[in-house]
């Protein structure tokens, strides 16, 4: 079957098998910035924004995304670069495999939550696992980033 996706502002028709998951369709279409770390919606590295809201693309049927707007981290390159300054500044970007998914979820959180507490930040991002950093450095980076965005 075919579906139409607008990925990072570009509309394209994709040939898919009916049961295909969005992450696989995106990766084979060349959007390799979307990572895959599990197949059970448990790790968050496959996060993309669907119409602006974060979803786990490994457990989202590609067919369901037909006609929707998808944003990957490369669609938010400027914001991601800004955020990366803070993450890298804390040394909290280790293997980096979780980083694109984390960055996207932070973008979404920034829109959704006003001046979140540490607990709220942790809760919002709980689905984004990281095995390298121990999370503390990420939290330091996220707080400084949010602070800087508030100006």
């Amino acid at each position: 079957m075919t579906i139409t996706l607008t990925v990072n502002g570009q509309e394209k028709v994709h040939m898919i098998t009916p049961g295909a998951m969005l992450v696989d369709v995106l990766r084979s279409a060349g959007y390799t910035e979307v990572k895959k770390g599990c197949d059970t919606g448990s790790c968050g590295v496959c996060t993309v924004l669907l119409d602006g809201l974060p979803i786990l693309s490994c457990s989202y049927l590609a067919a369901k995304a037909d006609g929707h707007e998808i944003t990957t981290i490369r669609g938010l390159e400027k914001e991601a670069a800004e955020f990366s300054e803070f993450l890298v500044g804390e040394g909290a970007d280790q293997c980096g495999f979780c980083s694109p998914g984390l960055a996207l979820t932070v973008m979404a959180m920034k829109k959704e939550l006003k001046a979140p507490s540490d607990e709220e930040i942790k809760h919002y991002l709980a689905g984004n696992l990281c095995r390298c950093s121990g999370y503390e450095g990420q939290l330091r980076a996220i707080k400084k980033y949010l602070e800087a965005c508030r100006g």
């Binding site: 059970t40 990366s84 804390e90 280790q94 709980a126 950093s133 999370y135």
Partner: protein
């Protein structure tokens, strides 16, 4: 000692950080070409079986099918998947494809097809008939079990490691200093207890991936998520019976390692397909496969005996270990030995010490290298036992440790006797700030021996516990790293190294080290690493070696580069080389009469000097004659719900002596990351099986790793310390963070409730049962 640094000790951002966050193609699967054949591995559903037949006829009908291979199509060569020095201290007991399967997930056959769907479909249609055999699942019953897991005649060890496959023993070892029985007997106070540590899964977020193709010379190119490209080349060549010159291994960015990728799990299968078809091929494991068919941590039972005087002088330590290596013996002996060699020297004032045991085969997921590498298991047992001793003596556990622990300028006979798989090396500990770490940790956690536990609400107890730890820095006299530096026009340098950055930032750290030694900015160092065709040899990233071993190699290369630069300038100035100085920007004669900038020199030697034009390069190699241990004191504050047995970590304080932290931010993250993996293992991470040997925890829903909500706070500080043999005073920091949480948390639970739990993980049911039992006695 010169402690004024320009580049070292600075929080330089990781050079690849921005690219990774913004999602540039970086990992193996991102780099694989679109038309790479997709390889799927058919895996055993049985814990132990003989393959009677493999029928590929239906699979071959799938459109897009390209190739299927079973053991009949592959040369039968025993090899080891363990990435270790040569000869490997692991038995050669694995075949790429074999007639027997020895655990659920073992490789049976492979198929290759033009895309994911057809490969998956073809794999589904491969029909395998098995003769199911009895399985050995309990490692305490493995030795001399009537079921022999490895009866095949051609398997062997590379040198004596106590390998007795007929008895299901992959390796064995024993050592004794003094007469342990006698000293224990003569000791006023004795402790004797058995501790159990479970298998733990690494869960690097990027699943194991390899991509292979033939280049225009027909050479096999392997892009792979590996921790040790050079070992991979050697092992792959052996397994495929290929000359090493025909293989090139490249490591791109890798999505986490922790020891998981110190082995060959995927490379042979992609390579086979490429060699047979001439086409590019790739293997990307699913998460389920990563759990079921790569490695986990060795499960162990550790029996500890300690003898001490009534005033707390530890006289003898006895440690006997039974380790479960699963179906294959990778790292069997070495992980086991580290359990003693990196714990026993902590208490170096003993009169007698003994360490020994067996590493046995079972029909379970094989065990391999994992951060902490045996030290973490040994640490749980020893540091729990030390607290048991303190309780028996009625002493503050901190005081007991202070009295007995190793200090700067001291040694331990264990260093010399036990290495990794053989003898060790003699070593005086030239840097050890353990005393400071303990003192500072007490301050940070507010350690009051009389108030280690108190009730905060009915049924909720806050409590503190602690443990100390040591690790090593590389494997002395076995592991080696090298680096090449080359001057480029405009005065910057290429740094080529075999060292393997797993995401820890070692590329950045090694560039800082080169820049420091040369006196230039780290921006002027361009790093290219981990490509067996283009970078010099390096053992790879394991055994906490990169900063120490590869770092020292980089220093040597930089020192040689300075000599070359001075020689080139001296030739220009027509003076002797020793008359020229270099400060990172300029080369000048000592009398100051002639100067040339590095930039000018670089253009001169490459463009302007006619017959004297040349490339200025220099290299350096390093292998350690010692393995200076980093040390750490770990303190935890937990809150225990005595109604449910749930334990929450409120704060974990780590004070670490890793010598000079080359890059403090990155060093801190290493410790924080290690702590959290240790806390996960302490509290709930557990590889569990069904009765017939199926992995119950084969996805991230059932195997839980810590999320960011699981720990309230981590507090990490570094001691001021300087290791004379290290690059700018540095020791390693990659593993040490993971070691203490197991014992520290168990000790805190004891302090809170009087319940001593000797079996990990410390799950609520176990804690609750122990609390109830303690209340009764």
């Amino acid at each position: 000692m010169d402690k004024h640094f320009n580049e070292v000790g600075k929080a330089r951002p990781k050079i690849d950080g921005k690219g990774l966050v913004t999602g540039r193609p970086a990992y193996t699967d991102d780099l694989a070409c679109g038309d790479a054949l997709v390889v799927k591995i058919i895996r055993s559903p049985h814990a132990h079986a003989r393959i009677v037949s493999v029928d590929m006829s239906d699979a071959q009908k799938v459109s897009g099918f390209v190739l299927a291979l079973s053991s009949k199509d592959v040369k039968r060569i025993p090899f080891t998947r363990a990435g270790q020095g040569h000869p490997e201290p692991s038995p050669h007991d694995k075949f790429i494809l074999d007639e027997y399967v020895r655990y659920v997930g073992d490789e049976v056959a492979i198929v290759a097809a033009i895309d994911e769907e057809s490969a998956a479909e073809a794999a589904r249609l491969v029909k395998v008939e098995y003769e199911v055999l009895d399985a050995v699942l309990d490692f305490e019953e493995a030795m001399d079990n009537p079921t022999v897991i490895h009866p095949e005649p051609e398997i062997h060890d590379m040198f004596p490691i106590g390998f007795e496959p007929k008895r299901n023993i992959a390796a064995a070892y024993a050592m004794e200093i003094g007469d342990v029985e006698k000293v224990l007997e003569a000791s006023e106070v004795r402790i004797k207890a058995s501790y159990h540590t479970q298998a733990q899964a690494h869960v690097a977020l990027e699943p194991h991936t390899a991509y292979t193709y033939l280049d225009l010379h027909g050479r096999l190119n392997v892009i792979t998520s590996t921790q040790n490209p050079f070992h991979t080349r050697r092992l792959l060549g052996q397994a495929l019976d290929m000359p090493l010159r025909n293989i090139r291994i490249q490591k791109p960015r890798i999505g986490g390692g922790f020891g998981a990728k110190q082995h060959l799990h995927v490379e042979p299968y992609a390579a086979l397909v490429t060699l047979k078809t001439g086409k590019p091929a790739k293997v990307v494991l699913s998460r389920k496969e990563v759990f079921e068919a790569t490695f986990s941590r060795h499960q162990m039972r550790i029996d500890v005996g300690i003898g001490a005087t009534r005033d707390g002088h530890i006289r003898a330590i006895d440690m006997h270990v039974l380790s479960n290596t699963g179906a294959y013996g990778e790292h069997a002996l070495t992980v086991f030995m580290v359990g003693g060699s990196k714990t026993l020297p902590l208490y170096n004032k003993v009169e007698a010490v003994r360490f020994g045991g067996q590493i046995v085969y079972t029909n379970k997921v094989p065990a391999g290298a994992y951060r902490g590498y045996g030290a973490i298991q040994g640490n749980f047992a020893l540091e729990s036992a030390i607290d048991e001793l303190a309780a028996k003596l009625g002493m503050d556990p901190v005081e007991l440790r202070k009295k007995n622990m190793i200090a700067e300028g001291q040694t331990s006979e264990v260093f010399k006797i036990m290495g990794e798989g053989g003898e060790g090396v003699e070593m005086i500990v030239e840097s050890c700030k353990l005393d400071y770490c303990v003192k500072r940790g007490c301050r940070l956690i507010d350690w009051l021996p009389s108030r280690l536990a108190y009730e905060v609400a009915p049924g909720r107890i806050r409590a503190k516990g602690m443990a100390i730890a040591m690790q090593g820095s590389g494997i002395p006299l076995i592991d080696m790293g090298s680096a090449n530096l080359e001057l480029q026009d405009d005065g910057f340098f290429k740094l080529h190294m075999g060292a393997t950055d797993l995401g820890t930032g070692s590329d950045t750290i090694l560039a800082q080290i080169a820049a420091e030694e040369l006196g230039v900015d780290s921006d002027d160092i361009i790093v290219y690493a981990s490509d067996t065709d283009h970078t010099p040899y390096d053992v790879g990233a394991y055994a906490s070696s990169t900063t120490y071993v590869s770092g020292n190699a980089v220093i040597r290369a930089a020192q040689n580069m300075k000599k070359e630069l001075c020689a080139a300038a001296a030739a220009k100035f027509s003076v002797d080389t020793d008359q020229v100085e270099f400060d990172g920007k300029e080369l000048r004669t000592k009398d100051g009469s002639r100067t040339i900038t590095l930039k000018e020199l670089s253009f001169d030697v490459l463009y302007h000097d006619g017959l004297n034009m040349k490339t200025i390069n220099a290299s350096g190699s390093f292998s350690g004659e010692k393995s200076p241990p980093p040390y750490m004191a770990g303190f935890v504050e937990v809150e225990i719900d005595v109604e449910t047995g749930k334990v929450d970590v409120l704060d974990y304080v780590a004070v670490v002596d890793c010598g000079t932290p080359i890059n403090p931010q990155l060093a801190r993250i290493q410790v924080e990351g290690g702590l959290l993996q240790g806390i996960g293992m302490a509290l709930y991470e557990d590889v569990q099986y069904t009765e017939n040997g199926h992995l119950r925890t084969n996805n991230l829903m059932h195997y839980k790793i810590p999320s960011r909500e699981d720990v309230k706070k981590l507090t990490v500080e570094f001691a001021e310390s300087y290791e004379p043999s290290g690059p700018f005073g540095a020791k390693s920091v990659g593993e040490i963070g993971i070691d203490t949480p197991l014992a520290a948390i168990a000790n805190a639970i004891y302090n809170a409730t009087g319940a001593r739990i000797r079996e990990l993980p410390l799950t609520p049911p176990k804690v609750l049962a122990a609390i109830r039992e303690a209340a009764q006695s």
